[in-house]
Structure formats: C-alpha cells, structure tokens
Symmetry: C2
Subunit: 395 residues, 2 copies
Amino acid sequence: MKKILFLFILIVFSLCEIGLAQTGQVTVSSKLAGTAHSSPYNMYGAQYPFIEADNCVTFQFYAPDAQKVQVAIANVPFDMKKGEDGVWTYTSEPQDYGYHNYWMIVDGAIVLDPATDGFIGYSHDCNGFEIPDPNGDFYDIKDVPHGDVLIKNYYSTVTETWRMAFVYTPPDYNKNTNARYPVLYLQHGGGEDQRVWIEMGRTNLILDNLIAEGKCKPFIVVMETSAATKPGEAPPERIQPAARQQTQGIQPAPRPRMRFSFDTYAELIVKDLIPYIDGNFRTQKDQSSRAMAGLSMGSMVTRSVALPNLDKFSHIGLFSGGTLAPDQISDKSKVKLVFMSYGSRERGADSVKEAAKLLNEAGVRSVSYISPLTAHEWQSWRRSLREFAPLLFNN
Amino acid sequence: MKKILFLFILIVFSLCEIGLAQTGQVTVSSKLAGTAHSSPYNMYGAQYPFIEADNCVTFQFYAPDAQKVQVAIANVPFDMKKGEDGVWTYTSEPQDYGYHNYWMIVDGAIVLDPATDGFIGYSHDCNGFEIPDPNGDFYDIKDVPHGDVLIKNYYSTVTETWRMAFVYTPPDYNKNTNARYPVLYLQHGGGEDQRVWIEMGRTNLILDNLIAEGKCKPFIVVMETSAATKPGEAPPERIQPAARQQTQGIQPAPRPRMRFSFDTYAELIVKDLIPYIDGNFRTQKDQSSRAMAGLSMGSMVTRSVALPNLDKFSHIGLFSGGTLAPDQISDKSKVKLVFMSYGSRERGADSVKEAAKLLNEAGVRSVSYISPLTAHEWQSWRRSLREFAPLLFNN
C-alpha cells in the first residue's frame, strides 16, 4: 500500500513539475539585458538564481537543518542568511556579463543545487547562471540557417578506448554535398570536457550568426577532451575533488604523480582524431585548412599539439592562455595566424598586444584581442571566438 | 598577491584533475558485470559511487560539519555513517541492473554530489550510477557502424519560442543520400527532457546494434520535451522542488493550477515539429512510416498526441505507462502496432499481456513485454526499446 501511495505521489508530482533543462541555448539572452528574470538554466518553474535588473543575483536554497550555507560564485564563497522557513538567501554584487559557475556549500560540503542545470567546470559538476549582455546578440539564437551539433563516438587506438567528440558542421554542410570544409579543433579548459564550447561557449550559435552575416567562412569545429591515458598509464589519484579542498583552504595532500603532459592527447589527435574526422566528414585535409585553439589550459594543449605538428596545423588561437614568442615556432612559414586574447580583468591582458607585435615583426601574422570588463570566464572566450573565427582560413 | 596565488592553485588543480563526464556512453558496460569498479558516470579519478562485485554500491561523501547525511537511491533515502575525516559512507543492498538516479540529503537539503555527472530526472538534476547487466551488451558501444545524435534548435510557432530536439539518424543515413527513413517520436517521462533517451536510454547504441545485426529497419528518432506552453499560458507554480518535499515527507502545498494536459505539446508536434523534421531530414512522410512511444508519463503523452492524430501515427509504444483498450482507438485500421511493456517489479506488469490479447482479438496488432527483475527504471525502458524497435515499420 505504501508503495502504491508512493507511486501515486510520484506520478502526480511528475505531471506538475516537468524538467526542461539546457534551455540556455534557446533563450534570446541579449533581449533580457536590464530586466529582472530567472536565470535561463533554472529547471522549469524554478525561480532562483534570479537575475536582478542591475545584474545582482539573488540565490535561494532550502536547507532547514544546516548550520551554515554559502553560495560559491566562480569559486568565491559568500555567506547566505537563513529564513524561518529553512530557506537561505543571498543577493550578490552586480556580476559581469555572461555565464558564471556557482555551487552551494552546506555545512562544509560542496554540493550542487538540483534545481539548476549542471555544467562541467572546476573538475566537477557545477551549477550555472547567465547575465545577459546588451551586446550579446552575437550568441543569441536567431532566425538564420543553423548548423548541426553532432555527438560522435569513435575508437582511439592510442588510448584503446571509445571516446566522444562534439562536432559542429556549418549550416550549408548538408546542402552543398560536394563542398569540403576546413576544420578548427577547439579545446576546453582545465576541469572541463568536450561539451563546454557548446553548452557555455555557444560555438554553434556564434558561428551560425557570423556565417549568416558573411563575416566568416563556414568551417567544421571538433571538440574533444584532453584527458587521455594509454593502457597502464594511470589517471591522477583523486583524494578529494580539488575545488572542495581549495574553497575550504585545505592543504592538498601530496600527489603520487602529477600529469602535466599532453603528449598522449597530441598522439591521439594525430593518429586517431584527425583521421576519424577526415574520414567521416567532408573536410579539407591540407595543413592550411586546419586550426587549433583553446581556452586557459586549452591554450597549453594547443601549444602541445600544434607546435610539434606544424605540418598539420596552420592557425593557432590562445584564449586566456598566455602568448607565443617567435622562437617557439620552429617553422614560421607554416603558421598563417597566431591569435591571442584575454579578458581585461585578467592578469595576462597586458601581454598579448606586445606579443602579437613581436610575432608580426618576425613575419608571423598575429592578432590580439582584449575582452572589455570580463575575467577568466566564458564571456571572454565567447568574444574571443567571435574575433578569431573571421580570421580563419581566409589567406 | 592573493589573486595570483589563487590563479596558480587553480591552474595546478586544473591540470591534475581533468573532468571527463558523460563517459557512460563510451563504456563497455556488460564487460564490467560481476567486477568491482567505479561507476562510469563518476568524474575523472573519482572513486565513488563504487560498484561492488555483488552489485551493492558504496557511496562516500565529504560533509565535515553536517549532522545528518543520507543518500537517496531512486528517491528512497538511506542514512550514511560519518567517519573521523568528515567523510560519510554507506553501502547499499544489491541493486538491479542498469541506470539509477541518486542524490544526497545534507541536513535536510536535497543536493547533488558534484563529483558525479548530472542527469535530468525527478524534475531536477540528479546524480547517476550504473549496474552492469551481463546481458546488457545490446546497449554497449561496439565496433559497428554508428548513427549520429544531433542537437537541433528549431522555432515553434505554437509556443513562439526556440526549442531543442535531439535527433538520431541511422548509420547509413549519410551514405545512402537518396534514401528516406521512417521516424519514431520517442518521449521522455515525468520530470525529464529531450536528453534522457540518449544519456540514460542509450537509444543510439541500441539501434546501432540492432541495425548491425539486421534485427530492425533503420529509422530516425526524434526526442523533444513535452513541457510546452503558449504565450500567456503560465507554467506550473513551483514552491519547492517536488522530490525535496516528497523525500522529506512534507505535505505539498496546494497548487493554483495543475496542468495535466498535453494539448499544447500535441499541437506543437503536429504544426511545428513534424513539419520541421520532414523539412530538414530525408523522412518518409506517410502515416505508416511514423511511430510514437514514450516511457511512464511519456506514454500518456503518446496517447494524447497519437490517438487524436491517427492520420499521422501508425505505431504506438507504451513503456511502463498503462495499456490501451480497443475502444480507445477511433480507427483501428490505421494502427499497425500497439506495444505495451513494464518491468516485472512494477504494479502494471500483470496487465499488458491481457490488454494485448484484447487488442489482437479486436484486429489491432499488439505485442506485450515484461522486463525481468526491473522496476520503474531505465533498464525496463532500454529493454523495451530493444523489443519494440524490430516491430516497427515492417508491415
């Protein structure tokens, strides 16, 4: 009888509360700028996080018996205040435009709010919210031809495992069935994976819009995960999730091995991923039609993969991930573009203009970009992609 | 200085702990049956949930200052035990084969473990774990031709919003570029959305494998979300996430409106989704080449959409969602198949065989199926799809 009642309650609730996540992609974000509204990543009907008209964000979280609840916004914890109903509340300072990760800390435990969609970041699942940018229509969904995002499983001979890639094909890919397209290999940051350039980066929408305006050539984008180990090569030990220690100021335990190398991933890209993509999509296979870029740690990955393989890559993008000096490029004639960018609030922001100047003087075409009033966050990288894409495959 | 140190720590951690989620799709699950292993949905390097060789599951969760921590497995809470290091532990009874939702309850708050991938269910994000089925190789990834999973944004004139659909195209879709394919519209359950039939259901792998074995005709699958409101039509009020109340035994507050109707969604499917799919994919557009099926509440959706539109749908599947009686079908000559299934542990399991008999006697081809030793869970629905797919579009 208890089970039947339970099932009945389950069914009734299921009917009234229907999940609808991943709605961020289909929200016209820029039109919400300056209005008070629920964040687009909230579950259907969930009001919080609530974006105030001045870009402050109000969080609410139900934890009736907790002693202390904090909300961590982009890894900085803020104390919430408990109400009589067991609901804790916090309203933040105004936030920068764009996507931000957050999570809850309940009595010392880093946890997620189940009423908001989950996004990979900081090496674990995170909650997210979005501050609309009045000039953010470049990543709005619009009534223009749309490319496809494909989830592709493929087998790697290097790792001896099946792996997953996200692939964007441009709007005319399925119409011009004899056309071949250049390819950008686009790399996530530390603690992320192949999904982020679609889910937070809005790569598909940014390129759809640029292509519709005639601002960039149509090309394919391949997004994979740089975590790659060969058989017998152990993944890093994990004692506690890193951010959990970090947020609480716990000294991390010594690690038996630290893997800073992307050699296995570089081998996988050359031996498995490029042949798979070239074998299964209508690509242009020459070096001048292949680019690689990445954000943050993905810039390090890009250096590790592209620089030793200049017979395969011609265009390089480093978003919030340092610079390149002329003497790091073994054969300058091979490199058609080095693009380097930062958010203006980042420490590296003052370095890219000079680095681009030195590269240009050394005969390597280089462009730098500073995203105004953004930090080490997605709005810097969405804008970087918008600036980078028009420079690709046009020389 | 503090900021620089913070960035340094962030970078170091980012390098050692690289997220790798959604690996479930690329794990050969059946080969893990009977072995002790970490669940495939755990973040890269995260050990727990840990699947014991006897299908008990060990959970660990770090909550140093909490008074009480529980793990809820498929919505049933179990008390965890605190260790001196602030880590709480619980080992479950043996679990049924297949995917199971779980979450944590920390001092009364329903929260998620950030070290495991997030999945939509119960109207909110959930954590998941997977018990390998020794006979589960029908949803393993194999070295057979693979179809595509596409994430498609399209505009609905009914809701006046952009919406998102997941679309599976069979392995030969891009090779036989003149071939046209029948279409199955496949519906999620209550509190879920368009992602679940890929992420938990493994629809793409199940169909790839069936097609490779010559057991079913290649067809397209369209997965959309049944939450749909017209402009001005308010979504259901949300006071607290339903499961949060449910798990804690809190009596739900009265709701100002309860929306049990799928009329708007039915209108959307007929006016927007079918024309979009038929206009953008090489489909067979006749009634005999269009099917609809759903799990749990999705069976109710299937009835609401297909039965009033028998000029558009010919094959019907109800997975863990009740039965159809002959007098519910207005024009029996239009219906080529009614498939009804349940897990053997479900209350409805004893009803489908008799219901199928009555339909067959009334001249409607009907097939029933009982999934052995499974409940109202994904293993019932993976198996239901395996049984249903070969019956489609072959008469």
